[in-house]
């Protein structure tokens, strides 16, 4: 692990920004020392919480060779204009894997969704490496379930002989 900025841009960027009077390098050393002091302060006062580090280590289990990832292609939180006064408007999400689309609508009460092309599917709602709930899509590809738990969630679908997992997302 290198202890310096490793892409070479650091030196170049600084050189261009040397003081106009030509005393290049003045203060560079002090800057580096102060940055290092900040780094130590951050490690003491605001480190990665141990519980989060443990969750990230466990997340290796989420690496799933079998499944295709359905990428988030629409999120009303980002892609839709806010509607004044419509504060409890449902969150609309669309996930796309090649040839399979999953539409999800989230409200405080629960989740409804639709798999396209329409067809039955067995669905697991994942909360980290744990399974939170099992859902079933009917012959039209429609499914309903309880609202996802706090924290990131994903849906893992078995449909027409393939496995698709939606991109991890905070509800």
């Amino acid at each position: 692990m290198s202890g310096t900025h490793d892409d070479g841009v650091h030196g170049d960027g600084s050189a261009q920004e040397g003081p106009a009077d030509g005393r290049f390098g003045e203060g560079e050393l002090e800057d580096g020392l102060l940055e290092e002091e900040l780094r130590q302060a951050a490690a003491i006062l605001d480190p990665v919480p141990a519980a989060l580090r443990a969750i990230a280590v466990e997340a290796h289990a989420l690496h799933d060779l079998q499944a295709r990832v359905a990428e988030l292609t629409f999120d009303s939180l980002v892609d839709a204009l806010p509607v004044r006064g419509a504060e409890d408007a449902p969150r609309m999400l669309t996930f796309d894997a090649d040839g399979v689309t999953v539409d999800v609508e989230l409200t405080a009460d629960g989740l409804i969704g639709q798999v396209m092309p329409p067809g039955p599917a067995r669905i697991e709602m994942l909360s980290g490496p744990r399974r939170f709930a099992r859902l079933t899509a009917d012959d039209m590809g429609r499914f309903t379930g309880q609202a996802p738990p706090a924290g990131p969630f994903a849906l893992r679908l078995r449909t027409g002989g393939e496995v698709v997992v939606t991109e991890w997302l905070r509800a």
Binding site: H5, D6, G151
Partner: protein
């Protein structure tokens, strides 16, 4: 982290090597945390964004186009999730100042508790003053310095991905911010 090392670890982790994955978490986790902190999220939001970034990374592990840039990928993913949180807050909350929610956890870390021992009191005081002055810098400086102080130090590519700023602007801004911080410390007589 060194890029070649990151690339090799990503490859091994994708092949199922848990130790390689752990090394990535330890090498890049502080960067992800710094990105989240730089955006001034509440503790609860910060925790969720941190997890989301790692869950997505695990999910995309075998599909990353540029394995050696995994740090920038994680930083960028964390940034986008942070921006979503801030956007949702602006939408639901009467205030658009996310810093009202920005409180560093009150609970002392083990390291902090060690610092509280008498011998370390002076050093502890210095660290606290440094942190206090850092937190009183303007938003741009706070954001940049918070990301730069990840350990190991991030590359400028990673910083650029973390904050959505041009690589070329990082050096000059860093210099200005560090000097501003130093002069604040000197004014307090602790520099």
């Amino acid at each position: 982290m060194d890029r070649a090392e990151v690339g090799a670890l990503v490859q091994s982790a994708a092949d199922g090597d848990a130790a390689a994955w752990k090394a990535l978490v330890d090498g890049l986790g502080p960067l992800v945390w710094s990105v989240v902190r730089a955006h001034g999220l509440s503790d609860a939001d910060a925790h969720e964004v941190y997890q989301t970034a790692w869950f997505r990374f695990a999910q995309h592990l075998g599909r990353l186009r540029e394995r050696e840039k995994a740090g920038a990928w994680l930083a960028s993913t964390a940034r986008h999730e942070c921006l979503k949180v801030l956007r949702a807050q602006r939408r639901w909350m009467p205030t658009d100042d996310p810093h009202l929610l920005d409180r560093v956890s009150e609970e002392p870390t083990p390291e902090e508790s060690v610092l509280d021992s008498e011998e370390a009191a002076a050093e502890s005081e210095r660290v606290r003053r440094l942190w206090q002055e850092f937190e009183e810098l303007g938003e741009r400086c706070r954001q940049l310095l918070r990301v730069l102080m990840a350990s190991p130090p991030p590359s400028y590519q990673e910083v650029s991905a973390a904050l959505g700023i041009a690589v070329g602007s990082i050096g000059p801004t860093r210099q200005r911010c560090l000097r501003r911080l130093r002069s604040r410390l000197e004014r307090r007589g602790t520099g």
